[in-house]
């Protein structure tokens, strides 16, 4: 007797319908574009051709971009890991003054989009006109600039400043959850602090450090903004910037699309490898002794170093966050880039102009807000349905959905953009190219991962029996969803909304490949205005973007705190 003969209320079954819709959403938005990329990378004229793939890969230009991606990502990873681990240790395991406040300060770099940071550093440290370089040259009567930001070192340093929180958060969590009795028993056995740190503490938090480092590696390999701001002028391309350059300059010729798909394939494969390695590291490091409970960890007495280290931390924040932000707002206030930053040169005219008069920036702000809202709403609802199927429903064919649900996590932004171009520019009947809709489609694909993560975490908290109880109390499936499930996952949905809305507001990687003259986003407008030499307008818009981000982040904190109560 086949199981399928048990009749649901309607012939086809609500469960199968939801499953089908979920699979369709993920296939259309994520799987299909990626498949098109792989197809275009490996098939020439309809036949499989790996030699050509290899040939494109070994062209000097593409090979150099791959090497650059690897060099920059490695340097960024090493730097961020050292910085993140050091500060994490400082705020969890020492008696540094104002520790909780310092901990929240170290999370601020997350809010600052790295391409805006890069823009600020360009103005501070560019060899010819950077404010710091000019200041030092005047001061010491030097002929040569002291710093050059347009180097591997400069690019990596800027990335480290804004990416290290990935490691910081992971390591803080591990250090806080670690059972202090492990260290205490080592101390009782006569081990010195150095031995304890080397033999007990570091091995226990190593998985978290590794996991944070791999996340940064993944992010930096596929990172567009900083390299585009600081590298392109000097001919330093990494994989995403080369894909952009190829697509952008050639106007979508076959050759450039092909190079793009080959590079994108390399990105997808390396992202998949990194995610696989991360899961290996995390599963191996699943120590029982790092429990969910909060303990009071052993603290190292810094003694005479307490205040000097606090000053060092504050100086770091001042140098990496405050200084660039101040520069953005000041340069945004002068009429021409290069004027000295004095009171009489500063005004709010630029801000007024870009907010109320200048079409490019007004459109950009409107586009970004509208796209962010639409993408966040659509992705939030799609995410909650798909997560519901994955976490809660028992239907055949769920395995496909689970696999598809993993995909959004491993597809970098520039790959999504390229895939969306292949899928939606007319070859398959629908042409969204040069419209705002193609950006929306790409955003949905890009941010699906965030929504799936937040919503499945919320749904896992909702025990099956809660829904079964309401069914047995006389509620239909839809009623139970409405009365029980939705109210209980609402905090997850709200956090998914903001997790998408805020990054979408400052998105650059995807929109830069998809924009048309009237469909610029804030990120694109900042980038293109800067490229066109409209530095002050670009900077003023960056300032507005920063204000929007800070206000949004404050709202999130407010809402998530409420939801947590």
């Amino acid at each position: 007797m086949a199981k399928g003969t048990i009749k649901q209320d309607s012939g086809f079954g609500v469960a199968q319908l939801i499953l089908l819709v979920s699979i369709l959403v993920l296939v259309i938005f994520v799987a299909w574009p990626v498949l098109l990329i792989l197809f275009n990378a490996f098939f020439v004229d309809g036949s499989f051709n790996y030699r050509d793939f290899y040939a494109v890969l070994t062209e000097p230009e593409t090979f150099q971009a791959l090497k650059n991606s690897l060099i920059i990502a490695s340097m960024t990873t090493i730097g961020s890991t050292i910085v993140g681990t050091f500060f994490a240790w400082l705020v969890t395991r020492t008696d540094l003054p104002y520790k909780t406040f310092m901990k929240s300060l170290f999370l601020v770099p997350f809010m600052l989009p790295s391409f805006i940071g890069a823009l600020a550093w360009k103005m501070l440290l560019s060899p010819n006109s950077g404010y710091i370089n000019k200041f030092l040259m005047d001061m010491f009567n030097l002929q040569e600039p002291v710093f050059n930001i347009y180097t591997y070192m400069g690019i990596s340093a800027v990335e480290v400043m804004y990416l290290f929180p990935f490691v910081f958060i992971q390591v803080c969590g591990a250090l806080e959850r670690m059972d202090p009795t492990l260290e205490e028993s080592a101390r009782i056995s006569g081990a010195g602090l150095f031995t304890i740190t080397r033999k007990i503490t570091i091995p226990l938090v190593m998985p978290s450090i590794m996991s944070g480092a791999l996340l940064i590696m993944l992010y930096s390999m596929a990172h567009f903004g900083t390299v585009a701001m600081l590298g392109i002028e000097q001919g330093i391309y990494n994989v995403p910037t080369l894909i952009y350059e190829k697509i952008h300059q050639s106007g979508g010729s076959f050759e450039s699309i092909r190079t793009g798909t080959v590079l994108a394939t390399v990105l997808v494969v390396s992202a998949a490898c990194i995610i696989w390695a991360n899961q290996k590291v995390l599963s191996r490091g699943h120590y029982q002794i790092i429990g969910g409970k909060s303990f009071r960890p052993m603290e190292l007495k810094l003694r005479g170093l307490r205040w000097p280290l606090l000053i060092f931390c504050l100086a770091y924040i001042g140098f990496t966050i405050v200084l660039p932000t101040v520069v953005i707002f000041l340069v945004g206030g002068v009429s021409t880039y290069g004027l000295p930053l004095t009171w009489e040169n500063l005004s709010l005219d630029n801000y007024k102009y870009i907010l109320f008069e200048y079409d490019v920036t007004r459109d950009a702000i409107f586009n970004s807000v509208a796209l962010g809202l639409a993408a966040a709403l659509i992705t939030m609802f799609a995410g909650v349905i798909i997560s519901y199927v994955i976490v809660k429903m028992k239907v055949r064919g769920k395995g496909i959905l689970e696999f598809l649900g993993m995909l959004p996590f491993s597809v970098p932004g520039s790959v999504i953009a390229l895939g969306v171009i292949l899928a939606w520019s007319g070859q398959f009947g629908i042409n969204l190219y040069n419209t705002v809709w193609i950006i929306l489609v790409a955003y949905i694909a890009r941010y699906m991962a965030f929504s799936l993560k937040a919503n499945s975490a919320a749904l896992e908290q909702v025990h099956d029996s809660l829904m079964e109880a309401s069914r047995s109390c006389g509620a239909t499936m839809w009623q139970s969803l409405k009365d029980i499930v939705i109210p209980l996952v609402r905090p997850g949905m709200i956090s998914a909304f903001f997790l998408i809305f805020l990054p979408a507001l400052r998105e650059l990687t995807v929109s830069i490949m998809l924009y048309a003259p009237t469909t610029r986003t804030i990120g694109v407008a900042i980038y293109t205005l800067n490229e066109d030499g409209e530095t002050v307008m670009s900077t003023a818009l960056a300032g507005i973007a920063l204000i929007l981000i800070v206000v949004g982040q404050t709202l999130i904190n407010h809402f998530t705190k409420k939801a947590g109560e």
């Binding site: 007797m1 199981k3 003969t5 048990i6 009749k7 649901q8 209320d9 025990h463 029996s465 809660l466 079964e468 109880a469 309401s470 069914r471 047995s472 109390c473 006389g474 509620a475 239909t476 499936m477 009623q479 009365d483 029980i484 109210p487 209980l488």
Partner: protein, 364 residues
């Protein structure tokens, strides 16, 4: 009396793991029926099948003369239309609703008038002793109080049958004892049918009109009143599951049944049937001991003072058994034994079992 739930030939498997095979079970209207079995034997699956949260691979389930699931015809009635009240092991009280909202929910689903809902909910909250806590959220209640909310919610819409899935297992011992009498009292007061699932034989004996014993393979070994189950166990599994048990191997020696390999005759009527080997089973309380007189002669191997009782481990011809005597009785009757003392044993009750079953049960 009429059967309110009928389970006929139900099979249910998860992948290769067969939980139930050709299971038949009838529950009578108005009774308190307990399904008793070890953890993982499929009791919860059966409750979920009856409630409609699972569908049987094969077989038929009938509630109140209505077929609610039948694999042959494909009939399936959704859980919300089966008119059952359920109390889950983890209470499943909705965390975002107050006590009142939780209890009122089944009535709201029936679209009863507001005044009636208010009155019924208030009455139910009083019955389960939660008056004054109506506005609280579940996170502000203790485990026992959440359990009462779950009970009230299951009872408020006046269901024909209430299903309880290990509802007391998360409570501490004192509260568990109190709650089990309350459940029994509520069942009597409302006159509804209760199907109760547990692995705790004390609860089962205390509240049930009938008990069904299920083994780890999901097979029903015996159904009967608590007295029948305890005093006339169908087999060795049932006997062992209902409490501490002693088993003595027996050998037939010149037409007499003797302990172990020795020649002392067991002072009880011999077994009838054709098993190859036999064991006799009895509980520690079924053993009577004496300093001298009739019965089996044994030696005290271990003597333990447990406060209220004396606990003795006794060896008879190579076989061991445990017994207990109330301490004050032991003192007045001169039954305080030391290790190495000799004594004589008779039985108040004794059951014969096929020795092959002993091996089977020990494998669990």
């Amino acid at each position: 009396m009429e059967d309110i739930i009928k389970v006929e030939g139900v099979c249910k498997a998860y992948g290769d793991h067969k939980v139930h095979e050709k299971l038949d079970l009838n529950i009578k209207k108005g009774e308190c029926f307990t399904l008793l079995g070890p953890s993982g034997c499929g009791k919860t699956v059966l409750i979920r099948l009856i409630a409609g949260h699972e569908t049987p691979d094969e077989g038929k389930i009938i509630i109140d003369n209505t077929v609610v699931a039948d694999s042959a015809t494909g009939e399936y009635i959704v859980p919300e239309r089966r008119g059952l009240g359920i109390v889950f092991q983890d209470y499943a009280v909705w965390p975002h609703m107050t006590v009142t909202e939780n209890v009122a929910y089944p009535l709201k689903m029936e679209k009863r008038p507001k005044a009636e809902i208010d009155q019924l909910v208030q009455r139910m909250i009083e019955i389960v002793g939660m008056k004054g806590l109506e506005k609280r959220l579940p996170s502000e209640l203790s485990g026992g109080q959440q359990q009462r909310v779950a009970l009230a919610r299951a009872l408020v819409a006046d269901p024909s049958v209430m299903l309880l899935d290990e509802p007391l297992s998360n409570l501490d011992a004192n509260l568990r004892e109190e709650m089990r009498f309350e459940i029994k009292a509520l069942q009597r007061q409302f006159g509804i049918t209760v199907m109760y699932v547990t692995h705790d034989q004390e609860v089962a004996l205390a509240i049930s009109d009938r008990i069904g014993i299920m083994d780890a393979e999901g097979k029903l070994r015996q159904i009967g009143t608590p007295y029948e189950i305890f005093e006339r166990p169908a087999d060795l599994f049932v006997f062992k599951f209902m409490g501490i048990a002693n088993f003595l191997k027996a050998n037939k020696n010149a037409g007499k049944w003797c302990v172990g390999t020795g020649s002392q005759e067991i002072p009880w009527e011999g077994p009838t049937g054709n098993a190859a080997e036999w064991v006799c089973g009895f509980r520690p309380s079924d053993v009577a001991i004496n300093r001298e007189g009739q019965g089996l002669k044994g030696v005290v191997k271990r003597s333990n003072f447990l406060g209220n009782t004396m606990d003795y481990l006794i060896e008879i011809d190579g076989e061991q058994l445990r017994t207990e005597v109330e301490t004050h009785e032991a003192i007045t009757q001169n039954l305080m034994f030391k290790e190495g003392d000799e004594l004589f044993i008779t039985f108040r009750a004794l059951h014969w079992f096929d020795a092959a079953q002993l091996k089977e049960v020990e494998e669990f």
